[in-house]
Amino acid sequence: MPLFRRRKQEAAFSARTPDSALASDHELASDSTQAHLAAALVAIKDAKLGEDVWLEIERHLLSADLGVPTTHRLLESVKAEATSSAHALELLRQVLVNNLAASTSLSTEGSPAIWLVVGVNGVGKTTTIAKLAKRETDLGRRVVLAAADTFRAAATEQLQMWAERVGVSVVHGSEGSDPASVVFDAVEHAAANSADIVIADTAGRIHTKSNLMDEICKVRRVADKASGRVAEVLLVLDATNGQNGIAQASVFTEAVDVTGIVLTKLDGAGKGGIVLSVQHELGLPVKLIGVGEQITDIETFRPEQFVDALLSDAVLSDAVLSDAVLSEVSPMR
């Protein structure tokens, strides 16, 4: 069974499985935010608002990878208005949500629409592409994959195995061939077969390597010249990673004009707080999140849900569940 499902029953929110949630119905209805709060934050909720409370909140935000400048920036506005600790936490949640753009759907403009997926090594590009292919196929769209990671060992095989499971076709070159021409071929193949979307897998590249960044620029240029249209350039960020995400996002955006972020591995211990800085500094929205290794473990980004998980001790997939549970038992939410 997928990890996602199993962990829902095991982790911090195990008390909120449907049966027990019904039993504690009134408690949830009376204070739905509390259900998400991290123990350390619950502990300060009724404390007198003062330096200790602010330090604890700051500590929590920093340990969610928001980074020093963003944490200070966001706390400033909360500090200006808060009248009590509980109020501070409420305001904080609101400020965090307001600082994240609600997700727009992925553009399918162009025939075919071309989606480039880029990012540093090992963040989850190939897996995300498999998930996207599945999602779009289920929506009735015809998808072609371009295996433009011609560098990493067995990268094409990995994508092919996923494609087989999903039932989509893959266009690939020989090992070491030019990634731009693989993308071009895939687009032309898709156009000839009137497919709707081409999703291009690219090799992981550290943004500081100028030759590899030149290469990805070329992929984009060539894709721009092919039939169809580059509709999305998705940068994959790993929620386990820290402050380097800002540098990744800014360099990739400069190189290939990123349209949105996919934040992966949110089912792990990392909170992905870096996306608040990325949103603020570059105006790049998170569009999708990855919550597991299985083909269906992808979701549209929802700021409230993300923030609730960020302020909790639980991983996001639990928050997803608890949301579902809460809406079942409490129509007020």
């Binding site: 540093v120 090992g122 550290i206 386990t240 402050q243």
Partner: protein
């Protein structure tokens, strides 16, 4: 980061005065800045608190050195403390008395386990061992295929079987014994620290093959969670060390401090790129500088003083002018340059040179190669490289794990360097060097004026060939 820190510190301490002990309030003010610098470098907040507590204690008891200003002294304490945590005991292998020596790799998804399993195998081959790789990631699509392709590049056999990773691992152990391979390296699937079932699984793999060494593979770009993740893996597997990957990124790499502090085991290896030879033993001193950040002239000077023993450099210069500059001198100087840390960092600290682009990865690697080549030469060859003929060249290449082309190239570059150096040697000296061993004689004044010694440094930095990127 550090450059702004340094100026902040100077302000604080100018006010605080220069004599006696560091005062608690001043220390706290400085530590507040250090704390932010470390969090920005991705060191876990709890680890930062602990670290700053230790530094505070050190600062309170440290007697102020007359020749040092207090800012320098605190930075020194911070750096020493960082190096102490990152370094501690260093890593060395003791081989199992009854082979094979078993090594297990574990870590989060995408951290670099598979790639580094093969890099490690290559390293063992260089130590004269015969490793067998075991693919026990039967989960991720094409994981075993990836292992096979990479291992194939350096002709190391790979074993894998079926669908059960525990059986595959123990099958691999039997196979290693059958084939008489003396090292077994087991690659495992990426797993989340909070995934109890998968953690139990890797625990079972470990039980099945009783590894001598279990390495936690950690991404240098990792964030705050690195501490808790490392802790979970340590609880399950009793780690013996850490392999730090993706150091070729520009991440400050504070995650390694979190993991190192939490786990209490040494960082054994550093992975600095995707290629199999982008792999080396870990250098705590370089990492400390990296976590604290670049752009700081003061750090450069301190490092320079430590690394670049003036007397040696001058002796070499004299031999150079006398025409007796040998490959031994060349090697010495190269080692000293390497001790200074990544070349880009080095240049980044030079006033006016931060714009220069350097690929640390390839230059580091080139330095390592050059060192290996020179070490494989006889004393006579080092003294008189002209005698290196074809058969000598072949022997040297074999001994150093390089090609004969690499050897020829180095010799060519050496003669170029000799030419370059002698032209520098003839140039009028800019300033008289400070006497060796006298600290404080060549510090940066609060305004950031550069001392004579710094002005001398470009002489070394000018050796272009050290960081020319090569595609070999």
């Amino acid at each position: 980061m550090l450059s702004t820190l340094t100026s902040r510190f100077s302000q604080i301490f100018t006010r605080a005065g220069r004599r006696g002990r560091l005062k608690p309030d001043d220390i706290d003010e400085v530590l507040a800045e250090i704390r932010e610098a470390l969090i920005d470098a991705d060191v876990n907040v709890d680890v930062v608190e602990k670290f700053c507590g230790a530094v505070r204690g050190e600062c309170l008891t440290a007697e102020l050195h007359q020749a040092l200003n207090p800012t320098e002294q605190v930075i020194q304490i911070v750096r020493d403390q960082l190096i102490a945590i990152l370094g501690g005991e260093s890593f060395s292998v003791t081989y199992a008395s009854k082979p094979p020596t078993v090594v297990l790799l574990a870590g989060l998804q995408g951290s670099g386990k598979t790639t580094n399993a093969v890099k490690l195998a290559r390293w063992f081959v260089q130590q004269g061992r015969q490793p067998l790789l075991v693919g026990a990631d039967l989960q991720r699509p094409a994981a075993v295929e990836q292992l096979r392709v990479l291992a194939g590049e350096i002709s190391i056999p790979v074993y894998s079987e079926g669908r059960d990773p525990v059986r595959a691992a123990s099958g691999g152990l039997k196979e290693a014994k059958r084939l008489g391979r003396d090292v077994l390296i087991c690659d495992t699937a990426g797993r989340l620290s909070i995934d109890k079932e998968m953690m139990r699984e890797v625990g079972r793999i470990s039980k099945a093959i009783s590894p001598q060494y279990t390495f936690f593979v950690l991404d240098a770009m990792g964030g705050q969670a690195a501490a808790s993740v490392a802790e979970s893996f340590h609880e399950t597997l009793e780690l013996d060390g850490i392999i730090l990957t993706k150091l070729d990124s520009d991440a400050r790499g504070g995650a390694v401090l979190s993991a190192r502090e939490t786990v209490g085991r040494p960082v054994a290896f550093a992975s600095t790129g995707e290629r199999l030879d982008d792999f080396e033993l870990f250098h705590p001193d370089r990492m400390a500088g990296r976590i604290l950040g670049k752009g700081d002239v003061l750090t450069l000077i301190e490092k320079t003083e430590e690394a670049f023993e003036k007397a040696e450099a001058e002796a070499a210069a004299e031999r150079l002018i006398a025409g007796t500059y040998t490959l031994d001198d060349f090697l010495d100087q190269m080692r000293q340059i390497r001790k200074l840390g990544p070349l880009s960092g080095l240049l980044g600290r030079m006033p006016g040179m931060s714009g220069m682009e350097i690929d640390d990865n390839s230059s580091e690697q080139r330095l390592a190669h050059m060192e290996a080549i020179i070490c494989s030469m006889t004393p006579m060859e080092r003294f008189k490289p002209e005698i290196i003929n074809n058969s000598r060249r072949q022997r040297i290449a074999q001994g150093s794990g390089t090609t004969t082309a690499d050897v020829s190239k180095l010799i060519r570059e050496f003669s170029n360097a000799r030419k370059l150096m002698s032209s520098l040697g003839k140039a009028p000296r800019k300033a008289k060097p400070a006497k060796k061993g006298k600290k404080g004689g060549s510090r940066v004044t609060p305004k950031g004026t550069v001392s004579p010694k710094v002005a001398n440094l470009p002489d070394v930095a000018n050796l272009d060939f050290l960081w020319q990127t090569e595609t070999t």
